[in-house]
């Protein structure tokens, strides 16, 4: 998706920003909108958000670079966040992370050769009861085993192959573990 944000959303953000006293409060929403549409937030996305909300580009960048779920660098179509916090660690999370890296042939922060997956570590996903856990896009998967992981990756690959449109993870309804 080369376009940053569909026109209707552009208009909507403009209108909302104009209607409220503190347009800054929309920065995170707008960044997330760009990301879910474009996959990640390029410099042009930061400028667009600033322009739509009538705030300074630095103000947008200051916020964008603070959050770890706003991607300021290109990522694959599905970002995999593997939990590395205590419960998942206790549940063998390190092995799970190892398996993911093998299965995808990439390390943390890298994107698979087919451009589908980016692998990132994340803090606790709130799936501590289903450790070890990971989040693919916005869908959390728990009680991971190498087998489950392979299955999930396979599903994702197929789902991705089918989907003609290049829409990003946020538009898919998440499933709970």
């Amino acid at each position: 998706m080369s376009e940053l944000l569909p026109q209707n959303q552009i208009d909507e953000f403009r209108a909302r920003a104009a209607a409220i006293a503190h347009p800054h409060e929309l920065i995170v929403d707008a960044l997330r909108a760009v990301q879910s549409h474009h996959g990640w937030v390029p410099d042009a996305g930061v400028d667009l958000v600033a322009e739509l909300l009538g705030v300074l580009p630095v103000e947008v960048e200051e916020v964008a670079t603070f959050y770890d779920k706003i991607f300021r660098r290109p990522v694959g179509r599905r970002v995999i966040h593997v939990c590395d916090s205590i419960c998942c660690w206790a549940g063998g999370g390190e092995a799970i992370a190892g398996h993911l890296q093998e299965a995808l042939g990439i390390g943390f922060g890298e994107t698979s050769a087919d451009g589908i997956f980016t692998l990132l570590p994340t803090c606790c996903l709130g799936a501590c009861g289903d450790a070890p856990a990971m989040m693919v896009g916005l869908t959390t998967h728990g009680r991971l085993t190498p087998e489950r992981i392979d299955a999930i990756l396979q599903q994702e690959r197929e789902a991705f192959a089918e989907s003609k449109d290049f829409h990003h993870q946020d538009t898919r309804t998440p499933r709970e573990p």
């Binding site: 779920k69 419960c87 709130g126």
Partner: protein, 423 residues
């Protein structure tokens, strides 16, 4: 499955979310009706009388906080539900919202009335998209039924509720950072005073409570203070709490349990004991920022007072259990890494101090550590604890301090043997 009184989870069905009809059928929104017949002041007094304490980690008495709030001050005021829930070992708010989101909506409506607040936000972390949708649905249903929005049930009181989806980072859970986050500023915490009740969101009086805290309120309004207080096992506690079990237990779910229930009972009865027949070594009783408890402390009742006496905290009541095979240095290192990575970068003890702590634990855990570094770890804890700008670094020192106090020998062994004694 269990015979504990179920209040917050009474509508919980595996894999299902209670819709408005189910919620109403179970007496939903009666609490709000009651509240609207009382004076706001009376509602706040009632909540105070229950002894309800915040479920977000700090455990501050909710009624007291509400009574501090300048309810009579005219103009903009805000009510925030804190659903950032990123403390490792804590996943109760998620389960609560997936099971029965209307409790939050009703609880906030009551709180809003009690503090005469016209606008509220439910702040939800990035990973809780599903919860966000459930809450949005609940809000829509409540609005349709007249329990939210303009002139609620003809009372003349109006309250609008919005959902904010965040974009990651544990610090957003800290209430003043959360407020900055909502404002679209850099979510560093703010200095207190001024407290949110004086100057919070957009500089206006703001009250922040945890999702679970709000969920308790409708039941309190329906059944009264004595009933609520009586739900607890200990006089020090009040009501029930959502206890999220994790780690090396046979069963790791969220249970609704009476305040003051002994840790042992939770682990044995609910958790089904330590997984794989192994024995209990330690646990975090209330999330990643609470000091470890040892086997010797298993009879401690789970309430704020007794856990503090035991040298820990109830925190978010997320119990993470470690079995005998766990290297406590490694476990602490994992926790320290979490806090160091989640530091907002504002103050030195946290931003740079935690990095030093991580390095020391890495050295020690790998068996490269020496006595000086052991001592250095001690003076890091001494100088970070209580010295940081907000409570994040403070929390980070919980487990590290307990490691030194309660697992000193294990640390010593790492140094003596030049390797992890458990490997």
């Amino acid at each position: 499955m269990n015979d504990y009184p179920q209040i917050l989870f009474k509508n919980r069905r595996p894999g299902a979310t209670a819709c408005f009809a189910e919620y109403a059928a179970g007496g939903g929104y009666q609490g709000l009706r009651r509240a609207l017949q009382m004076t706001p002041q009376a509602v706040r007094e009632l909540v105070k009388a229950t002894g309800l304490r915040g479920r977000g980690g700090a455990g501050f008495p909710t009624g007291v906080k509400w009574l501090f709030f300048p309810a009579d001050q005219p103009g903009e005021k805000y009510l925030l539900a804190n659903g950032d829930e990123m403390e490792p070992g804590t996943y109760k708010d998620r389960q609560l919202l997936l099971a029965d989101p209307h409790q939050l909506v009703e609880g906030m409506a009551i709180a809003a009335y009690a503090m005469q607040i016209p606008v509220g936000y439910v702040f939800l972390r990035y990973a809780y998209e599903e919860c966000a949708r459930k809450v949005e649905r609940a809000i829509a249903e409540a609005e349709a039924k007249g329990y939210l929005g303009r002139d609620i049930l003809g009372s003349g009181f109006s309250f609008e509720l919005h959902v904010h989806r965040s974009a990651g980072r544990y610090i957003l859970g800290e209430e003043t950072a959360l407020i900055n986050g909502l404002e679209g500023r850099r979510p560093n915490p703010r200095s207190k005073p001024p407290f949110p009740a004086q100057s919070g969101l957009f500089g206006k009086p703001t009250n922040v409570n945890n999702v679970e805290t709000f969920a308790n309120v409708p039941h309190i309004l329906s059944h009264g203070a004595e009933w609520y207080h009586g739900l607890a096992r200990t006089p020090e506690g009040a009501g029930t709490m959502l206890v999220g079990l994790s780690g090396h237990l046979a069963r790791t779910e969220v249970f609704e349990l009476p305040m003051g229930i002994p840790l042992r009972e939770v682990i044995e009865k609910c958790g089904g004991g330590v997984r794989g027949g192994r024995s209990f070594k330690a646990c975090l009783p209330g999330g990643a920022s609470t000091p470890f408890l040892t086997a010797a402390q298993l009879d401690t009742p789970l309430d704020h007072v007794h856990l503090e006496q035991a040298g820990s905290r109830l925190g978010t009541a997320g119990v993470t259990v470690f079995d005998e095979t766990t290297c406590m240095v490694a476990a602490t290192l994992n926790l320290a890494r979490f806090f160091a990575r989640e530091s907002c970068g504002w103050c030195t003890p946290c931003r740079d101090g935690l990095q030093v702590v991580v390095w020391l634990l890495e050295e020690l855990e790998a068996g490269r550590g020496n006595r000086d570094q052991l001592a250095m770890l001690g003076d890091q804890v001494r100088n970070i604890r209580g010295r940081s700008f907000c409570a994040l670094a403070e929390g980070a020192m919980g487990p590290v301090g307990a490691l030194l106090d309660r697992f000193g020998d294990e640390l010593e062994d790492h140094v003596k043997m030049g390797k992890c004694p458990l490997k």
